[in-house]
């Protein structure tokens, strides 16, 4: 498992520690009064089918660029103190961490709103693709709710 690093936008194969990532973000400012965390994890079923294997692929450079844009816009538009986004690629086991978004603000309201916005924006704009293998075969997921 990998600890938080200096970069607040990362795409990596390695797992991450949610606790370490939160502790790292708390160091951003002594004025943080609220933190919201979204953690996406590997589900066991997809459309009623049991998933045997999960894999994520991304477009390097563009994916990092889009995540950095989400972070910058989120901080600016919602008046956050800080935000971090970590997304894993490659093979993911069921139940494993996939994506982590941490939003930090002076108060809770802006962190809730920004966190929900950020994961929706990630799904809409960031070139990352999920491949699921079920009993029916292998499929590149076209969209997720």
């Amino acid at each position: 498992m990998r600890s938080a690093t200096e970069s607040k936008v990362r795409i990596q194969k390695e797992d991450f520690s949610v606790t370490d990532e939160i502790e790292f973000m708390k160091k951003s400012s002594r004025n943080i009064g609220g933190i919201t965390v979204f953690l996406g994890t590997g589900r066991e079923t997809s459309k009623g089918e049991k998933i045997a294997d999960l894999n994520f692929e991304h477009y390097p450079q563009m994916a990092e660029k889009k995540l950095a844009e989400i972070r910058e816009k989120g901080i600016a538009d919602f008046g956050l103190i800080d935000m971090s986004i970590v997304h894993r690629i490659g093979h993911i086991d069921i139940g494993d961490n996939i994506v982590l978004i941490i939003t930090c603000g002076e108060h809770r309201q802006e962190t809730f709103k920004a966190c929900e916005w950020a994961i929706s924006e990630l799904k809409r704009t960031t070139p990352i693709w999920k491949r699921e293998t079920t009993t029916k075969g292998e499929v590149w997921v076209q969209a997720t709710p």
């Binding site: 996406g40 994890t41 590997g42 589900r43 994520f56 692929e57 991304h58 477009y59 450079q61 563009m62 994916a63 660029k65 997304h87 996939i98 994506v99 994961i119 990630l122 799904k123 809409r124 704009t125 960031t126 070139p127 990352i128 693709w129 999920k130 491949r131 590149w140 997921v141 076209q142 969209a143 997720t144």
Partner: protein, 83 residues
């Protein structure tokens, strides 16, 4: 040279993750699709049916964009990151 990159199911269809075309100093995406259709008609069809987004140098562009020698064009199936 223009580099065209394929991802996810498009990479499987193409059997490669990128290819290069020499289309002069400046060209249109329509001409790039024409070049792709010579060997990968299935992908050209998906582009014409607007089932794929297109990025040039890491930004999504409209299909009437002009591209230049050295540009990187990415064909992007619908995204499914997150979880």
């Amino acid at each position: 040279m223009i580099t065209v990159k394929y991802f996810a199911n498009l990479k499987q269809i193409a059997g490669k993750d990128e290819e290069r075309f020499d289309l002069g100093k400046e060209t249109t995406l329509d001409q790039v699709w024409e070049a792709i259709s010579q060997t990968l008609p299935q992908i050209a069809t998906l582009i014409k049916e607007k089932k794929i987004m297109v990025a040039v140098n890491y930004d999504v562009v409209s299909l009437d964009a002009v591209v230049h020698d050295g540009d990187e064009i990415a064909l992007l199936p619908p995204f499914s990151g997150g979880s």
